[in-house]
Every structure is written in structure tokens, then in C-alpha cells.
Amino acid sequence: MEAPRTEPLGDSAVTIMFGTERSPELLKRVHSAAASLLAASIADVKDVVPAYLSVAVFYDSLQKSYGEIAPTLLAIARRTALPAARMQASRAHDIPVVYDGPDLDLVASALGLTTEEVVARHLAGHYSVDLIGFVPGFAYLSGLDPALHLPRRTQPRPRVPAGSVAIAGAQTGVYPLDTPGGWHIIGRTDAVMFDPVRDPPALLRAGDTARFALTR
């Protein structure tokens, strides 16, 4: 296990790096370190943002220099980024889906499955929120059945409607807003994935788990 190290990300952020290769274990360290950094309520820290290999901490650089804040952050990261560390505030979600996406038939034939099999395998998955990004509230969910892995569409759509449930590569996700997108749309949900006036605004957070369920 590599020791975490820090790098400046411009004048007002620090990137704490935990390793160079993606793995579920490394991601757990990242998420637990992010939770600890947030819980520590460090003075002058504005934002704590986990990614795949690192956590970025945004701070008020008029109050503290990089040299002043980096050791504090690193000490917390070293202490808490243990594989056994508890996953704070990890929540489980059930997302209701209607499987009637425009790409469902195409996905099934590309994978050599029936549409029923695609739906069954997507429903059977236990998913983890690896990363939030791309657009507000967009969760990259890992844990997709390998039989459903398919490269993204060659022609991205200029507009994917909010609520579209989609797959691409080894991941699945839900489009929170109407945006351009290149994933295969297999269904839709009426769950509100992002609402800027809700607290918290995003339904899913990095480190949460999720399952899909048929809308009744």
C-alpha cells in the first residue's frame, strides 16, 4: 500500500494522491479519507472532493498557504485511509426503473441476449457509487454484470433526457439533467437524481450503494 502524498492543484486546492492504479480497495481508501477530512471540519477548508485515485481539498489560500495546510491534510489522510476504515455515511438506495429505453433492443442484440435477460442482469446488480461528476449528480456506478459490458455509442446523442438509465463499458448510471450523452439508454426512472434546491442536492454520493428495482 502506497503512502498518500500531496500536490498543489493551483493556488486554492490540494490533491491528496493514494496510488496510481484503480482498484476497489484504493477507492475505499479514497472514500474513507474524504469522509474523515470532511468530518474533521478543518478551518479554512471549503470543499472535499473524492475521485478514483485522489481526494481534492479546496481551501482559502488567503488564510493558509499550501505549506501550512498540506501537512494537516496529509496527517488525516494517513490516519484514516485504511482499507478497514468504516465507510461513514454510506447509504443504500433503490432506484425504480421502467425498462423501455430506446437502445434496449440494440443492446440485447449486440450482447447476444434477449431484452428480458438484459433487464434481469441489470436488476440483479449490486452497484457502488465510484465517482460523481460529468454533470451535477451524475453517479458512475460500478458492479455491472460483465455480460452487459458494451463500448459506448459511436454517435453520442445531443440530448439525453433526465432520468435516462444507461450503461457503457463496465458502468451504469442515470442522467440527472438533459445533457448530451454517449451511453446506451435502457430505461428511465422518475427518481430525482439532482435538485439544486434540495439538501443534499444529489441523490447519490460517492461511496453509497444502489440497486435498481422495477417500477410498480
Partner: protein, 314 residues
């Protein structure tokens, strides 16, 4: 209250943006030229982070329905208040019924108009900034258009005197093409040749330059990293996709991305880059994080100097 009688193609409400919601995938947004926003707020007596108008792409006319105090600056523009020229970074007292007309911008990209009291729109996720891709914040999450009415907040208690001018030496050198940078997250992964290509030549701001990012033309910065596991970016981070063309992330850039980051623009110089128009050149100069943070503190102290001078004039 202000009525928009003729709107430019781009007009939004911006402040310093959202600093606490990146983990939800929400970019900071906020003003492209954060120094201009803060200096203009200071010139009209506002807190430095009050909401202002960000104006680009053409001319327009605002009708001031009530007496008000305003200042404009950032990009250069021909501006007139009921026929009289409006100089930049100057405290202007206007009367109810006055019309502020801005012709096309003559240099720079983003003009800011600060009004005493700030622009009054709802605070969403800690900010009044417009985030157009998410359709929230600012004026109902959209561009301000002809026929819209803009409200301002309560006037501040101390407003600099009529005609107060921000000393020019306290403003960023918008005419300079030199932009200082610090080493980025993946700086070590670029070869010496790529670094020479990056710091040894001028780049041109391409047509693909908006609030999300500025794509540059010039030397290619080859690397063999392809795309990496996504990590967190920030305004000013310079990412290099596989084909080697650098892109500077701007205010509305997604919170995370998978391209290697060679460098990050010093916040003190970000206003200079933000105000560069397509076709204009920039040259990057590498400095240390200590130098960069010192330059940023210098800008903060300049803002304090402007505030003191304004208070002394009142």
C-alpha cells in the same frame, strides 16, 4: 430596479461561485474574471462577493428605473449613460430614468456591471451564480433577455464618492500576454520536450473558448498517458488530451476529468487569460506555488487598498 431594453447575446448574474458542492458534481461557476468582479463591487461599496452582471457578445441597453450607483469594467467597451461616456472602474451615480448603453466590446471578453446593493436573485447552493449547463442559479438559471427586470439589494452604508476611480496600477495588466502557471497534478509525467513546447512558445486562444474551457492552438504537447482515471480539476487547470492540444478549464468545467494536467494558471493571472479573445496569444511562465500564492495575496491586498481609497473618498 433595472429593465433590460436591449440584451447582448450573453448576459448572466455571477458572483464568486459555489465553493461547497463539488462533491455533488456541481462546478464552482461564478465570474470568469474574479478580480474585476471584486474590484467593481468594492468601487460601489458592496461586499467583494456580491452578485454582478456578466456581459459578453454584443451591445445592449439597460434602463435604470431608480436612482442607483454602479461601476463597470473588465472587458473594454464603449459605454454611455444617457449620452455621457462611462469610464471603466469608476463610481457612477445614476438617476431614475437614465439609460446605460453598451456598444460592442472593444477589448477583452467579459464586461462586469456592479450595482450598489448587488443583484438580488435567490441563493442556490450558497451562491447567486448562474450555471447555464445545469439551468440553475442567477436569473432563473438562464440568460437575461430583453424585457427582464433585475432587482438590486439594499444599498450599502458606505459608497465611494461620485467619480471615484480605481487606480490603474492596482488592476491586472490585461494587456500582457504572459500568464504564470504552477506545476499541475501530472506535471512529472510530461517529457522535457513537452515542457519546452509548453513554456517556450506562444499559444493562441482558439474559437473553442467559452465558460467551460479555452482550447489553445500552438505547439502540441505529446504524451503517452492517454486518458487517466478521472481526477478533480479547477478553474485554470490546463489539461492535455491525447492529441496534445492543451485546454484551460474555466468556471463551468465539470468537477472531474480524465486528461492529464500539465499546469494550473496562477489565480492572480486568471483574469488576464479569461479576458483573452479567440485569436489572441498567451505565453506561459512557470512559477512555484509559493510565488503564485504570494501573487494572489498581493491581489487581495490591492483590493483592500481600493476599498480604503474608496472609503476615504466617501
Amino acid at each position: 430596479m433595472i429593465s433590460v431594453t436591449r440584451a447582448p447575446s450573453y448576459l448572466t448574474v455571477q458572483d464568486l461561485g459555489r465553493e461547497h458542492s463539488r462533491a455533488f458534481g456541481v462546478p464552482r461557476a461564478g465570474a470568469m474574471d474574479r478580480f474585476a468582479l471584486q474590484a467593481l463591487n468594492t468601487i460601489v461599496g458592496n461586499a467583494t462577493d456580491a452578485a454582478v452582471l456578466e456581459w459578453a457578445l454584443g451591445g445592449g441597453t439597460l434602463k435604470l428605473e431608480t436612482d442607483c450607483v454602479f461601476a463597470l469594467g473588465g472587458a473594454r467597451a464603449r459605454a454611455a449613460l444617457s449620452g455621457d461616456d462611462v469610464p471603466p472602474f469608476t463610481t457612477i451615480y445614476a438617476s431614475a430614468g437614465d439609460e446605460l448603453t453598451i456598444e460592442q466590446l472593444t477589448a477583452g471578453r467579459f464586461l462586469y456591471i456592479a450595482l450598489a446593493g448587488g443583484i438580488d436573485v435567490p441563493v442556490i447552493l450558497g451562491s447567486r451564480a448562474t450555471y447555464l449547463p445545469g439551468r440553475f442559479g442567477g436569473y432563473a438559471g438562464r440568460l437575461i433577455a430583453r424585457g427582464d427586470s433585475i432587482q438590486t439589494g439594499d444599498r450599502p452604508t458606505m459608497i465611494p464618492a461620485r467619480g471615484f476611480v480605481c487606480p490603474a496600477e492596482l488592476l491586472p495588466n490585461y494587456g500582457s500576454s504572459v500568464v504564470r502557471v504552477t506545476r499541475g497534478t501530472h506535471a512529472d509525467m510530461f517529457s522535457d520536450a513537452a515542457w519546452r513546447a509548453f513554456t517556450g512558445a506562444e499559444f493562441i486562444v482558439s474559437q473553442a473558448a467559452d465558460r467551460t474551457g479555452y482550447k489553445l492552438q500552438g505547439n502540441v504537447l505529446p504524451h503517452s498517458m492517454g486518458s487517466l482515471p478521472s481526477d478533480v480539476g479547477c478553474q485554470g487547470a490546463i489539461q492535455v488530451p491525447g492529441e496534445g492540444t492543451p485546454i484551460v478549464l474555466m468556471a463551468d468545467a465539470p468537477t472531474v476529468g480524465g486528461y492529464p494536467k500539465i499546469a494550473v494558471v496562477a489565480e492572480a493571472d486568471l483574469p488576464i487569460l479569461s479576458q483573452r479573445s479567440p485569436g489572441e496569444v498567451v505565453r506561459f511562465e512557470l512559477i512555484t506555488i509559493e510565488q503564485s500564492q504570494r501573487a494572489l495575496r498581493r491581489r487581495a491586498s490591492d483590493l483592500n487598498t481600493i476599498r480604503s481609497a474608496g472609503a476615504a473618498s466617501a
